[in-house]
Point group: C2
Chain length 154, copies 2
DNA sequence: GAAGATTGAGCAATCAATCTTA
DNA sequence: TAAGATTGATTGCTCAATCTTC
């Protein structure tokens, strides 16, 4: 016989699914209407902006963003069309590598967009919780993430 | 000046996004390969199976699943093709209402699929956490969900 | 006009296959 | 042969518009 979930375990599990669905949609709509960026595109720009020289290897970027290489490729194409990023051969001796690099326009766009985005995350996530709850979420979700072994960094 | 997130707040936030991405993909692949169902389709069947008479109004179902009405409509079509569910006019005096109803085949499929699905959720989520961590996640995520005001029920 | 539901166009994600270089 | 990256076909999602009934 299977070991069903307790009521509390169920709340934790459905909580993860529900909260991420709701917040992701909310954020996507906000970013699209305000800045014309999808949430994924915004996260790409954040990572590139923080990276040395504004550039990162495609596979590495896909890893930290928990997306597939195909999906990332598509989004980088969109960012290239919008002139927010470009592709550059990686300057290793390995000619297979490709880097995505944020452009000056991309940085401007990001820096103009970020404050309101952070405000939204605060309003609907951080500020709804006590500091202890935030710590508990960081702790628990970090444990799950560590177990899943994604290439993330935080 | 915007109020940036602290390192811990960032871990909590990226934790939600990362864990849900990773687990959702993992579960989707598992369900598709084992049962030919997407995660969304599985959740639909769970809800219908638990509902009185195995049926639920389309809008209500979309609400508890945090999905759009269009998205739900598409998935119900797929479930109809597979004979796991069907559409029925709601038996209110209001002729606008439509119910989705799980079929006997759908119930069989669900009951055969559920144990391994729960085992997977345990393996990669519940069992990775202490009972206190599970309680903390249920608590914190519940608070966020309550604030977002989704039509969920748990 | 508003609520419940459905449709269609366009966009985005996935999976397998391909191409190139190591 | 394998790693890095890209593409193509297919599926699924989102948004706006539509249709019907209240």
């Amino acid at each position: 016989m299977p070991q069903w979930l307790t009521e509390e375990q169920m709340r934790a599990w459905l909580g993860v699914l529900g909260v991420s669905s709701l917040l992701d949609r909310l954020i996507d709509q906000d970013l699209k209407s305000r800045a014309g960026l999808s949430h994924v595109q915004y996260e790409i720009l954040v990572r590139l902006d923080a990276a040395p020289d504004g550039k990162m290897r495609m596979t590495e970027l896909a890893g930290v963003l928990f997306t597939t290489k195909s999906g990332l490729n598509y989004q980088i194409q969109q960012l290239e069309k919008a002139r927010f990023a470009r592709r550059r051969p990686a300057k290793t001796h390995d000619a297979r590598g490709v880097c995505a690099q944020i452009s000056a326009t991309g940085r401007k766009k990001l820096h103009k967009t970020a404050p309101q985005h952070v405000a939204l995350v605060r309003e609907h996530f951080i500020d709804v919780l006590t500091p202890a709850q935030v710590a508990a979420l960081a702790d628990g979700l970090g444990a799950v993430r560590a177990h899943l072994g994604g290439a993330g960094d935080f």
